[in-house]
């Protein structure tokens, strides 16, 4: 069990999903809760490995201190060998834990399934839900690019049906839009998958003396899908970064970076390709919105760090200015759009675009503080935005509409719920002491730090800081319109949040405070080691390239 802990956690939800197809209808949701609950409990066991933030890696301190590694051949043969290779390091562990946590709460949030407007096919719903969870967990643990891609795409179909069948009025449109945008991003990733394999084969043939594996210490002789090998192998990094390495007459590193970036940028999402998000988030049922905002968006950021910047740091340098512009536009445009919304859920959706802009900004300046801020922002947003979506869902269940201007004074009729709502929205606002603040502060700090070697950094930081003001603007305004003021006649009879609803809101609220008060102990300690190694690795590659250019 202990050896295969990660595999158990990843596939347990799917197994539960298969089991629930054969149980009576009234037991279905309990089986689902058991599956996602057990996955969460088991994932808590992982804490003991990561506690203290300095646990020695299985592969020494070569890179990322991988833990709970499982390797087995999957598709093997004389031309390529694809592995089932999973493991956790500081980059994936916090997101992995976040996934099991948010999934458990979303499963709990689905418990009023029978009172939904569309309540057919409860088995199908929970089966797809659990399959989705397996896909998400798989993405975070895969360290083989091929496996990563398979898990990445496995999520598509369940999500499509969850939005398309159980969503709101324009569900069909929103679902297909989500599907097509995501697939559009991943088809170029597929070309990147092929290219990285064959170019890494060229690399180890070209510089055999550098091609020492981080894993076995032996010389690598074939192409590889191993993400860590692609990141750390000197021969591969040298060949990928070489200005003479070209694909279709374009320099390899910037081109590959872009191929991968597009896929992750759509998932994140960044501004020109964000349009699927408001549709999908608004049309999806509440628990699915929680998953979308809490976990799916993080895959974009995770992909940036693990693949784009890990393997092609020179590509990141090449595109830095462009990405900073996109990030700042996402922050400001997302905030302005959020301010203009009259639909409560759409406001929360656009606030995600704005918040994810900080993630991209923190990453694209390529400083340690920026990376830390981006990672923290992802975790913080993974807690505050599911909370906000659930808060919206709670009043939608009662009022059956989401028009901000029709509400008012809800705090008076639902005091417990109102307190939770204020907590959640203030966390999203970035109030010091709550989780949203730390990430944004670190990102802005990291951006300023990049100033000396990146001429747009100050401008970007100042513009992004202005985004904080806009965020405060739309959140305070919405809190005022919905929760404050005198209570309206038609909402006076609203029942207080139920026990189940509080059971979902309370842990999220507690984490909002915990992460805000103890950011180091709750998040940074787990990931700093890996992020430092990543930064060192990137600096090494950059210096190698500069030396090559100078010599």
């Amino acid at each position: 069990m202990d050896q295969h802990l990660i595999s158990w956690i990843v596939f347990l939800p799917m197994i539960a999903g298969l089991v629930l197809l054969f149980v009576p209808r009234e037991l279905v949701k309990w089986v689902a809760l058991f599956g996602s609950g057990l996955a969460f409990v088991l994932s808590l066991l992982l804490f003991k490995t990561f506690w203290g933030g300095e646990a020695a890696g299985v592969f020494g301190d070569a890179y990322g201190a991988l833990h709970h590694v499982e390797r087995a051949g999957w598709i093997t043969g004389n031309r390529f060998s694809i592995e089932y290779f999973v493991g956790l390091d500081g980059l994936s562990f916090p997101l992995f834990l976040l996934t099991t946590f948010v999934s458990l709460l979303a499963c709990l949030a689905s418990f009023n399934f029978d009172s939904w407007k569309i309540n057919k096919g409860i088995k199908a719903y929970f089966f797809l839900f659990l399959l989705l969870e397996t896909g998400m967990l798989g993405v975070f643990v895969s360290l083989d690019f091929f496996l990563f891609y398979v898990f990445w795409e496995v999520m598509l179909l369940p999500m499509y049906f969850l939005i398309g069948v159980w969503g709101g009025e324009r569900r069909e449109y929103a679902a297909i839009k989500f599907f097509i945008f995501t697939l559009a991003g991943s088809v170029l990733m597929l070309v990147g998958l092929v290219a990285m394999f064959f170019y890494s084969a060229d690399a180890v043939a070209k510089y055999p003396e550098l091609a020492t594996s981080y894993n076995t210490g032996a010389q690598v002789t074939t192409g590889t899908f191993d993400l860590i090998e692609l990141t750390t192998n000197e021969a591969i990094q040298k060949h990928f970064g070489d200005a003479g390495t070209k694909l279709l007459d374009v320099r390899f590193a910037p081109l590959m970076f872009m191929f991968l970036f597009i896929g992750f940028a759509i998932k994140l999402p960044c501004v020109p390709v964000h349009t699927w998000l408001p549709d999908a988030h608004v049309q999806a049922p509440t628990p699915i919105s929680m998953i979308l905002a809490g976990v799916l968006l993080k895959m974009g950021g995770y992909g940036f760090l693990r693949l784009c910047y890990g393997i092609f740091p020179l590509g990141g340098e090449f595109w830095a200015s462009f990405l900073a512009v996109i990030a700042v536009v996402s922050i400001l445009y997302g905030a302005l759009c959020a301010m203009a919304q009259t639909d409560f859920k759409k406001l929360v959706a656009y606030s995600s675009v704005s918040h994810m802009g900080y993630v991209l900004l923190g990453i694209c300046v390529m400083t340690t503080t920026g990376f830390q801020g981006a990672m923290f922002q992802m975790i913080a947003h993974g807690i505050s935005s599911p909370m906000c979506f659930f808060l919206v869902g709670v009043i939608y269940d009662r009022a059956h509409h989401r028009q901000i201007n029709k509400f008012g004074g809800l705090w008076l009729s639902m005091p417990r719920y109102g307190s939770m709502a204020t907590l959640g929205f203030f966390a999203s606002l970035g109030l010091p002491g709550l989780c949203g603040f730390v990430g944004e502060a670190y990102v802005l700090l990291g951006t300023f730090q990049a100033g000396p070697h990146f001429k747009w950094a100050y401008t970007a930081a100042i513009c992004a800081a202005f985004g904080v003001v806009l965020t405060a603007g739309y959140i305070l305004w919405v809190v005022q319109r919905v929760y404050l003021g005198s209570v309206r006649e038609e909402y006076k009879s609203f029942p207080e949040a139920t026990g189940r609803e509080m059971l979902i809101l309370a842990p999220l609220g507690a984490l909002c405070i915990l992460l805000g008060v103890l950011p180091k102990q709750s998040v940074f300690d787990f990931m700093n080691g890996t992020l430092n190694l990543l930064i060192d690795q990137m600096n090494g590659v950059t210096q190698m390239a500069m030396a090559a250019a100078g010599g």
């Binding site: 031309r79 599907f179 097509i180 088809v187």
Partner: protein, 551 residues
């Protein structure tokens, strides 16, 4: 008696050759048996189908026997005194294709039994035509002689024209059959014209010898180059017609719509696979003997056809309202993907690069499962609702009759080529084969293919949307057991082949690697290439003519 034996001409096959070609003989015997049985035991659909399946089993038995011979002694050629002639070849590729066709025949027979057996009076004729066209297709893949190739194509086509029009009461079937036949006849005429030009120049119809001598003629330029080029192009047109490559595809949607659905399933896979593997074999022989400059030109022509074929196929499929027409265009697009592999094969010009053939072998196997499943569902649905094959006929199927909708979903998503279905893995092999060449042209082709994947999502999703996202007040369809079993097996196999894809890959590697041993050079030893060179037209056209046809 001894005098009689002495008079057996030299061209008459020897006993060992009879054994080598026992599958074909068993196949012919099956044909005769199906035709004659009704005279003795009456026209019963089930008995006929049973006879056909017994015949198929016997043929398969002999095929396995020959496989044993081939793996012990290497590939065999026969039915010609010149051992290098390759009039008929028994090697891994042709044997693989025989088994493929036999398996597929069993699948189509099961489908026919559960859909049409009850209303069909002409079962013997149907099976004769079906098994006959299968024999023709198997011969197509067993030759590298242009004359045999033309005969085999006609052998495969003539029964196909008849079974397309087998729905005798329907106008649309008659029209489809006529259209198919007119296109087929014209392309046969064009092909014969091309063959006569080629023969006029080279004095031989053996592709290996033609390839050897093509270089000088094409390099010399002038009218000769034009005429030889025209001749080769005319031959390509004939094959392109079988593959239904754009712009020789116009028969395909009409024929597929007019024919009975099980016939459509048969033609959409078997006829295309035969055409493609014939193209692969010729391309492979050609690449072993012709010079690099000639090959690059041929490769570019094939690459352009592949690009146009998949793009036009996908774009045309989007507008269709009939599922069968839509799947017809989808099959055109898939033929385009597979043609890309033929282009690599020509250009790579090295014996080791069998990845392309291996990719196509794996592709056709999975493609057979996908199409058999998808057309199977259409056939089963159509047989219960009065022949309505429009996409809207699928409305609500996912909730009413999941036993049909789930396999349909698997097959369609697999046709798009995304995980977790085997269609993804075979598309990956294809892209990997393209990437392995490291040539810009093929990277561009890979990008064309992935973008086409995205386009194809649109129209496959239209059926999925109808099945799961739309409502219908139609009652559930009751499905015959055997048919339901067939389509579900296809659907499940698609997942199984992704998770355990090693056997598929290793086998297709093995069979395609064997192909390279089957070349005349390998058969006749080192000197074959020299002896081929000597019998070139420059050395004396009449002499080589006698070499091939005298004896």
């Amino acid at each position: 008696m001894t005098e009689l034996i002495a008079e057996i001409p030299a061209w008459f096959p020897k006993a060992s050759e009879f054994l080598t070609f026992s599958p074909e003989l068993a196949w012919v015997a099956t044909l005769c048996l199906i035709m004659l049985a009704p005279l003795a035991i009456g026209r019963d659909a089930r008995i006929t189908a049973g006879l056909a399946i017994v015949g198929i089993a016997v043929t398969a038995f002999f095929t396995f026997k020959v496989m044993g011979i081939v793996s012990a002694e290497g590939p065999q050629t026969g039915l010609t005194p010149d051992r290098t002639g390759g009039m008929l070849i028994a090697d891994n590729l042709s044997l693989f294709f025989k088994l493929f066709l036999l398996t597929f025949l069993v699948g189509v027979s099961i489908l026919w039994m559960s859909v049409s057996a009850n209303q069909e009076d002409d079962a013997p004729e149907f099976f004769v035509l079906m098994v006959g066209s299968a024999l023709g297709m198997s011969l197509m893949v067993s030759t590298q002689n242009i004359l045999m190739m033309i005969i085999a194509i006609e052998f495969a086509s003539l029964p196909s024209y008849a079974i397309v029009g087998f729905n005798k009461q329907k106008r649309i079937a008659a029209e489809a059959s006529l259209k198919y036949m007119i296109f087929g006849s014209v392309s046969a005429a064009v092909m014969l014209y091309g063959a006569s030009l080629i023969y006029g120049f080279f004095g031989t119809l053996d592709v290996a010898q033609i390839a050897l001598n093509a270089g000088p003629v094409l390099e010399a330029g002038g009218a000769n180059r034009l005429l030889v080029g025209l001749g080769m192009f005319c031959l390509f047109v004939g094959i392109a017609f079988k593959i239904s490559a754009v712009p020789f595809h116009f028969w395909c949607p009409d024929a597929f719509q007019g024919a009975k659905t099980e016939v459509t399933a048969w033609l959409s896979v078997a006829s295309k696979a035969a055409g493609l593997l014939l193209l692969m074999r010729l391309a492979h022989v050609f690449c072993m003997y012709a010079g690099a400059e000639v090959l690059h030109g041929v490769a570019i022509v094939i690459a352009i056809f592949a690009t146009i074929t998949c793009t036009v196929g996908n774009l045309s499929a989007y507008k269709q309202t009939s599922t069968k027409r839509m799947l017809a265009y989808s099959s055109i697009a898939h033929a385009g993907y597979m043609m890309a592999a033929a282009a690599i094969l020509v250009d790579a010009n090295k014996v080791e690069s069998f990845s392309a053939i291996s990719a196509v072998l794996a592709y056709v196997v999975v493609y057979m499962l996908m199409n058999l499943g998808a057309f199977g569902v259409v056939a089963l649905l159509e047989s219960k609702n009065g022949g309505d094959d429009s996409i809207t006929a699928f409305a609500g199927l996912g909730w009413k009759t999941p036993v049909l909708a789930i396999p349909m979903l698997f097959c369609l998503v697999s046709l798009v080529g995304i995980p977790p279905f085997a269609g993804f893995i075979t598309k990956w092999y294809l892209l990997a084969a393209l990437g392995e060449t490291g040539v810009g042209l093929y990277w561009a082709l890979a990008i064309v293919i992935v973008i086409n994947t995205l386009i194809s999502l649109w129209y496959y999703m239209r059926v999925i949307v109808q099945m799961f996202l739309r409502e219908s007040d139609k009652p559930a369809t009751d499905v015959p057991m055997s048919g339901a079993l067939l389509v579900n097996v296809c659907g499940v196999l698609l997942i199984v082949l992704l998770i355990f894809s090693n056997p598929l890959k290793n086998r297709s590697d093995k069979y395609s690697a064997g192909l390279f041993a089957a070349s005349p050079t390998a058969l006749a030893g080192e000197g074959a290439k020299d002896s081929l060179a000597q019998s070139s037209p420059q050395a004396g056209g009449t002499e080589s003519l006698e070499n091939n046809h005298g004896g």
